[in-house]
């Protein structure tokens, strides 16, 4: 019976049905299934399948995004139970992400955040036009591992550099990995400003974040 419910959980993520995913998560709690097991053997299995199919070109961004939303809905239902049991989901890392001050381009940053969270990161998306201090405050508050800065404008790229400098000035540079991205951002720019990672697209961003967590 457990394997049935795990399969249904995976399927709810694959289908991107967030009400169904949430319902199955509630049922798991009622049935006394360990939330961590439900996540790992149920929902994550579905997410992994969707990720693979996306890479193969068989599934598309709407599949990926709806799967991630279903996953989020399930985890939200399981969180109180995890807290009650004193356990916590093994997250790959905590990421604070946003689009820098002066820039309101939203779509790419949101996609990166969604894929990171779908792939096991805890993501705090601060939105667009975010002052550098807000990134830092949030990162300190949630003890982030990675801070992701997005910008689409050449005129605001400078804020990525300023942010790295601000981390240094605040004496916390070594506490966070800085990941940068956005259309005009290149590998050489990332190197020049002393960022830790860079990617030109969302799936690359996940790879880069995983690498950063492995200390690479």
């Amino acid at each position: 019976m457990s394997t049935d419910i795990f399969q249904a959980m995976a399927q709810s993520v694959i289908d991107g049905e967030k009400e169904e995913a949430a319902r199955l998560a509630r049922q798991a709690v009622t049935d006394g299934i360990d939330p961590l097991v439900a996540i790992d053997q149920g929902f994550v299995a579905g997410m992994r399948y969707v990720g693979e199919q996306y890479t193969l070109g068989e599934m598309f961004l709407p599949d990926l995004v709806l799967a991630a939303e279903a996953m989020k809905a399930a985890i939200a239902e399981l969180e109180p139970e995890m807290a009650r049991r004193g356990t916590a989901r093994q997250v790959l890392g905590t990421v604070v992400i946003g689009t820098v001050e002066g820039d309101i381009h939203d779509i790419g940053k949101t996609l990166v955040g969604t894929l990171l969270s779908a792939n096991g990161f805890k993501v705090y998306d601060l939105g667009v036009n975010v002052p550098l201090q807000t990134f830092l405050d949030k990162a300190l508050e949630v003890n982030a591992d990675i801070i992701g800065l997005s910008t689409l404008l050449t005129t605001t790229m400078i804020n990525q550099r300023k942010f790295v400098q601000a981390l240094e000035a605040a004496g916390v540079r070594s506490r966070f990995k800085v990941l940068v991205g956005g259309a005009p951002v290149t590998r050489s720019w990332a190197a020049e400003i002393g960022a830790d990672g860079y990617s030109e697209d969302a799936s690359g961003a996940v790879q880069a974040a995983i690498q950063l967590m492995q200390g690479g």
């Binding site: 961004l61 779509i107 050449t154 697209d201």
Partner: protein, 479 residues
Amino acid sequence: MSRPSFELISTEQVARILDEAFALLAHTGVRVSLPEARALLASGGAAVDENAEVVRLPEALIRAGLQSAPHSFTLYNLLGEARLTYGDDQVHFDPGSAAVNVLDADSGRQRPAQSADLLRIIQVAEGLPQFAAQSTAVVCADIPVPIGDLYRLYLVLLHSAKPVITGAFTAEGGQRMLRFLAGVCGGAQALRERPVAVFDVCPTPPLVYSAFAAQSLIDLARAGVPAEIVSMPLAGSAGPVTLLGSVVQHAAECLAGIALHQCAAPGAPIVWGGAPAIFDMRHGTTPMGAVETAMMDAAYAQVGRSLGLPTHTYLAASDAKLVDAQAGLESGISAVLAALAGVSMVSGAGMLDFLNCHSAEKLVVDAEAVRAALRLREGMHELTPTLGLEFFVGIDFRADFLKQKVTRQLFRAEQSLPSAVIDRGSVRAWEESGRLDTWARARLRVEELVAAYTPPDLPPAQAQELRERMAAEQKAVSA
């Protein structure tokens, strides 16, 4: 003679799009993040929720804006010469704007654009009659950011006798550019009477006017300098997935912009423009060369035309990374569709890689597509009293039409002459001239146009004025 035209949607669909856009603005409204803009709209009868910054627009307010917005306007150059009209059933093209990179012709790779690259693009576009206007084509990485938007405009004004399609990066930047223009055009009144530039203003999809965009509309309206609304629903991400759904959003964003703009200064010139794209569901990109992108453009242009407004769109651009076959086919097809759709100003030529990259070489190739598109739009000329009969007098079954005087007299009216970018020679001639492909021919053509470039005949005092004002602005910013 009838002009060929492409009407993608039915009259009923145009009416439904407008009905739904009016309903959207009346019920959902738009978010306008500038208090002054909300106040202006409120005084025109809009219902404002100050906390949410949401403005709901009654149809009457929008209709009043549509009533006062002019159906056409003329653009000038710094010499005071009328150069083109937006509206009046004219179709014009200009190079795309604000690329981050250029395609370096020697290395074949993208690199950040410099002011020297902008100058080169201006010189090339100046020699191509297919482009009625210039654009501030790239953002120059070698110019300090705070004056970057002004500096591009300055470069174009100094080096071109064509009007310019431009835009600011911040509200202050826009105000600085308007001050500058008034200064070099002989005052605010002269600028209003003979505008030399059009400013793009982008709502944020879906249905948001940022403080910057709203401020720009107000400032432009009051200055009487044409504003071009560049609405860009991205179908499936920042807009509905259906093409018609995104066209409804486009209409709503344009109507809201027009309402605000006309509240600020009734009668000021404004353009029903845009740069929508479908959202590629595999790569998360915004393909400008997709046929569905061109379809949204053709449809919204039809809506704009039905309101009698001048229109604008982004086509003749490609998502290819090189000036290759993909670049040619995407830019060529979309240039033709834009011309047939009767769009007043079509921006985008020269651009690659989702508007990220500019190429002078692509611009000269695109110029050939534009030439063909404009020729197509002229339609089938009726140049003689009979359509064909008279040509056969004395022909006696010989293929001697080349000997007829009328052939020499009329062939130029019938055939648009391509440049050497298009190869129509024999294969032997092609072999002998070094087997050049389109890219190689385009490089030669660029060199040729740069060598043949002649600067505009600006009176020395005016050129001096331009330089001094630019220097003063530079100083003010670095101080």
